[in-house]
């Protein structure tokens, strides 16, 4: 096939009708541009949500105690006292578990510096910051020794600092929880609100032993935070924990629940997949519209250039040469249109990103998809006009006025 020659002819023909070529491409440009733009914006938003989920600790498995049932009243998860510190210690020994923090939670009215504040007081192990991906800005986390000695040490979040020690350095200061003095040994790096709108800096963290024996006197945990050795081991860790606790608790019905962040992650990616399907639908419609535009113009072009086709056939062009020439014209139109669309979509999303401070990401897969599908649209919409041109009779075509 004389592809190279056909390419040259097609290029010349398109350059001859610059305005018309541009207008023909416009359908594809707008369609592809809109899709790439919105994909960039939604992908950016999805990625931000995913990052937030990941920042909760990607490899975290949470073990909740079972629900408490009293007569007809059923409590929520964590209401039944089934998880113990021994359970947590046993979980820590499992092969796919990296770190464990037995968790007890309570809301307390705390006093310091002549001010008071109601906040969440959490009992944790020293591994807590590592498990939930948090860091300490100033000071340091309490140690295993502090856990063993029921130390009166506390880590505070930024919101608590702002409320009780406005404009002051809280390190070394004393905080009273149920009138028991705790010394502030560290301040958490601020993290802001989580996905559910909770202020993650409005907390006080103390050793779980101190919480269980000094603040509240109880023997059961609300839940156990577990970090799996890697994100691939989450399911395995989950199974190990389930098996372990089932044997330890010797209960017919499982009196605990094991959940992981991957579940949440999955839900997020599910919603982004739905968004993707929606966008693909919009893309398909706009590409079809663009394709119809190309087919229309190509049909006009074939009629307009009937005589040219006749001349080419008279000097020896085969039907296939004519077919390829017009097909290449259509594909060139759609491919260039697609490329311009991709570029303008990316520019648009970049503009939005810089003006509105929204995160945008243009996935390279979508660029490839957009380019390939606009090319395919060119082939499909160009085929009928090109086929019609190739079937012309040279004598009739030469006589055409």
């Amino acid at each position: 096939m004389r592809i190279f020659a056909s390419l040259k002819i097609a290029g010349r023909a398109l350059r001859r009708n610059k305005m018309r070529s541009l207008l023909t491409m416009l359908g594809i440009i707008i369609g592809v541009g809109a899709v790439i733009g919105s994909v960039s914006l939604t992908t950016g938003a999805t990625k931000q949500v995913e990052d937030q989920v990941a920042s909760l600790g990607e490899n975290v498995v949470t073990v909740f105690s079972g629900n408490f049932t009293s007569g007809a009243m059923r409590g929520g998860w964590g209401s039944a006292p089934t998880l113990t510190v021994e359970d947590a210690k046993a979980i820590a020994q499992l092969p796919h578990v990296l770190a464990v923090s037995p968790e007890v939670r309570d809301r307390e009215q705390i006093l310091a510096n002549g001010l008071n504040w109601n906040t969440q007081v959490m009992g944790e192990s020293p591994d807590y910051p590592q498990i939930v991906n948090r860091t300490i800005t100033s000071g340091s986390m309490f140690s295993d020794q502090d856990v063993r000695s029921l130390a009166k040490s506390a880590i505070v979040g930024k919101t608590v600092v702002d409320q009780l020690f406005p404009g002051e350095n809280p390190l070394g200061e004393t905080l009273r929880i149920r009138n028991i003095p705790f010394q502030i040994v560290g301040v958490l790096t601020p993290k802001g609100f989580n996905l559910f709108g909770q202020d993650q800096d409005d907390i006080v963290i103390v050793p779980y032993t101190s919480h269980m024996h000094r603040i509240t006197t109880r023997t059961f945990l609300n839940d156990i935070l577990v970090e799996a050795s890697s994100d691939k081991d989450i399911v395995q860790a989950q199974n190990e924990i389930t098996d372990l606790l089932t044997t330890r608790h010797r209960s017919k019905e499982p009196d605990f629940t094991v959940r992981n962040q991957a579940d949440l992650m999955q839900r997020v990616s599910e919603s982004s997949r739905t968004m993707g399907f929606l966008l693909a639908g919009v893309a398909a419609v706009s590409l079809i519209v663009g394709g119809i535009g190309i087919m229309n113009i190509m049909l006009v072009s074939v009629t307009e250039r009937t005589r040219e086709i006749g001349i080419r056939m008279a000097v020896g062009a085969r039907g296939a040469d004519i077919l390829v020439q017009f097909l290449i014209e259509a594909v060139t139109l759609s491919a260039i249109g697609g490329s311009i669309g991709i570029a303008s979509g990316m520019t648009f999303s970049w503009l939005i990103a810089s003006l509105k401070d929204w995160p945008t990401v243009t996935p390279s897969l979508w660029i490839v998809i957009a380019f390939i599908s606009s090319t395919i649209v060119g082939i499909i919409s160009g085929f009928y006009p090109a086929w019609k041109a190739s079937k012309l009779d040279p004598i009739d075509a030469l006589r055409y006025e």
Partner: protein, 255 residues
Amino acid sequence: MQTNPVIKLAEIHKVYHTGEVDVHAVRGITLEIFPGEFVALMGASGSGKSTLMNMIGALDRPTGGNYLLDGIDVSTLDRDALADVRNEKIGFVFQGFNLLSRTSALENVEMPMLYHRHRIHSREQRERAMHALELVGLGSRADHHPNQLSGGQQQRVAIARALVNQPSLLLADEPTGNLDSQTSIEIMGVFQKLNDQGITIVMVTHELDIARYTRRNVILRDGVIVSDTAVASRLNAEMELQQLRAAQQAVKLAS
């Protein structure tokens, strides 16, 4: 002549099936044209000369009879093979020039080479197109577009295009039909020069004085040949032109 004919038509028929009536445009034409001949096909409209021309030019197939072009039986070839025959064996010159508009003279002349069975390097295309343009005296107008050229110049570009693939036959369909008499003579001069170099030319015309520049006149009527004669007093385009110019000069001096 001992050589094989370029064109060998044997009992050629062409019937068009249009609607209810069959039109018998060509009714049994037998004709041989040898290398180096310059033939005028003549006849009134409806005589079948255009139909015959289309068949000779491998644009159309006869419905009966045999046609050997340069030894190839064209009457049995399919569309693609006919296209290849047109590309390699035949050069066309049309009444309406049929150049591609908004395309330079050089590119117009290069066009047939784009469709050659073997790929011709673009540099060779350029050289051959340039050579063909020089042959018709338009070497200096290679980058002009058809709308920047006079009718006679456009027809010269068309002749250059017809020659560029070195065909065994040059077919001209009313080549002077759209030209004034002086330009017509110029074009006939180009044809005579090419014919002197050994190129076989078949030309359709209805103008008797134009036919007198050829070597052989074949006259058709109602789809059959009624006369096939050698031209007795052949006109020389160059001499005619000189006379014409002298006459014009005389008119100018007189006024």
